[in-house]
Amino acid sequence: MDESKLIKRIKTGDMDAFSQLVSAYEKKAINYAYRMLNDASDAEDAAQEAFLKVFDKIDTFREKSTFSTWFYTVLNNVCLDILRKRSRTADTVSINQTSSDDDEYELQLEDNSPGPYEQLQKNEAQRLLQEAIAQLSDEHRTIIIMRDINGFEYEEIAKITGVSLGTVKSRLSRARLALRSILKENRELFT
């Protein structure tokens, strides 16, 4: 798929071209949002909002960066907006975290965790990892998702998040150390 050609067609109002672009991005976009928001329904809403925003502003896209960078910038901002609005409720997993000392992280599982039979059906390591990622700060979670799930290069992460390469490195470093801290009691599942 030649993205550049698709975008030119979308600018002329070609809805079929937009549909093709959506098809190419929708699964990754929804999964990105899912990892950020930890809710499938919210993830689809966020992805939809991001797609409609880029559609609305497609005429302003000058291809100075790749479409992927632009799209994920929009999607990331949509997710962060949703997170800012969300208030933490009592029944979410609580965590004591600071951004300066990652050793303070500890994982507390909520009371309505899956029963024993359900646990047997799931990959325990994956489940714990997903929960741990959900407990990271927004900043740490963003960078883990971008780097370790979506596979973005450091430079692209810098463009999407609007920070320097040095900041990307230090944030990723702290994010991975934070995950280590959260999951240290269950390390036997990962080694």
Partner: protein, 266 residues
């Protein structure tokens, strides 16, 4: 091996995994891992976490996601096209109006300067034989699509330029009552939503919600910072369109006493 060494090494492991350390740091970490079992285990643990994160199961896209998204995009596209059409028609009508006014002015001036004429199409006063308010008559049909009535071939004083006939723009309708998301052309409905994306001055918009849409409108606005004036919004036009689509009534005004765009919810 000093504990502080291990702590430093562990802090470098995340970037070591990605080969993002300097050459010197890479060598230091590599050599340390060869001799320190504790740090080697930490490296294996963090590398495994990174690997497992890449393998996390993906969720599937729901069956109606694409369809719903395309429907909304189609709607946006239609709105965009309608907006362009209205603006083009207004521009066209504006050109017609200007042409008609110019024609009237030229004709009026021409007739004022004219003395006696033998042109049989001209009106000549039956009393004096001298044309009074001579009218340059024409048999040409109006060249524009306007409703302008060309001067007819009968004794009739030309209208003054100030009384130029109305141009046939679509008659703008005033916004209807509460709960309407009526959209009008700009100058005729100064209180309506501006369709133009460009906001050149600070806008204060009063948004009126009803019982049906208040909750969703409040939720939409809650993400914006609020002060004693109202909600501070940068891209106000996009948000006003969104609120109008939700069924809110929107009235806007420009305000030179504020330092940014505001939305006031009533």
């Amino acid at each position: 091996m000093a504990k502080s060494d291990c702590k430093n090494i562990i802090n470098l492991i995340p970037l070591y995994i990605d080969n993002m350390l300097s050459e010197e740091e890479t060598d230091i970490v590599g050599q340390h891992l060869e001799t320190c079992e504790h740090c080697k285990n930490e490296y294996k643990f963090m590398a495994s976490l990174t690997k497992e994160t890449k393998k996390l199961d993906e969720i599937e896209v729901s069956s109606d996601f694409h369809k719903n998204l395309m429907a909304k995009a189609e709607q946006k596209s239609r709105t965009k096209k309608a907006r362009k059409f209205i603006l083009l028609r207004r521009a066209g009508a504006g050109v017609c109006a200007a042409a008609v006014i110019a024609l009237c002015v030229v004709t009026y001036n021409g007739l004022n300067n004219q003395q006696e004429s033998t042109n049989p199409d001209e009106y000549i006063s039956p009393t004096s034989g001298v044309s009074q308010n001579p009218v340059k008559l024409t048999n040409e049909a109006p060249s524009t699509q306007s409703d302008v009535s060309a001067p007819k071939a009968q004794p009739k004083p030309i209208e003054t330029p100030q009384e130029a006939p109305q141009t046939p723009t679509e008659t703008p309708e005033a916004p209807s009552g509460g709960g309407s998301s009526a959209v009008c052309v700009e100058e005729a409905c100064p209180s309506a939503i501006s369709l133009d994306d460009t906001v050149s001055t600070y806008t204060v918009a009063t948004v009126t919600a009803n019982d049906d849409n208040r909750e969703v409108i409040e939720q939409t606005l809650s993400k914006y910072e609020k002060d004693e004036t109202g909600y501070k919004v940068d891209d106000i036009n996009a948000l006003l369109r969104q609120l109008a689509e939700m069924g809110a009534t929107v009235e806007t005004r420009t305000d030179s006493t504020v330092t940014q765009n505001y939305i006031i919810l009533e």
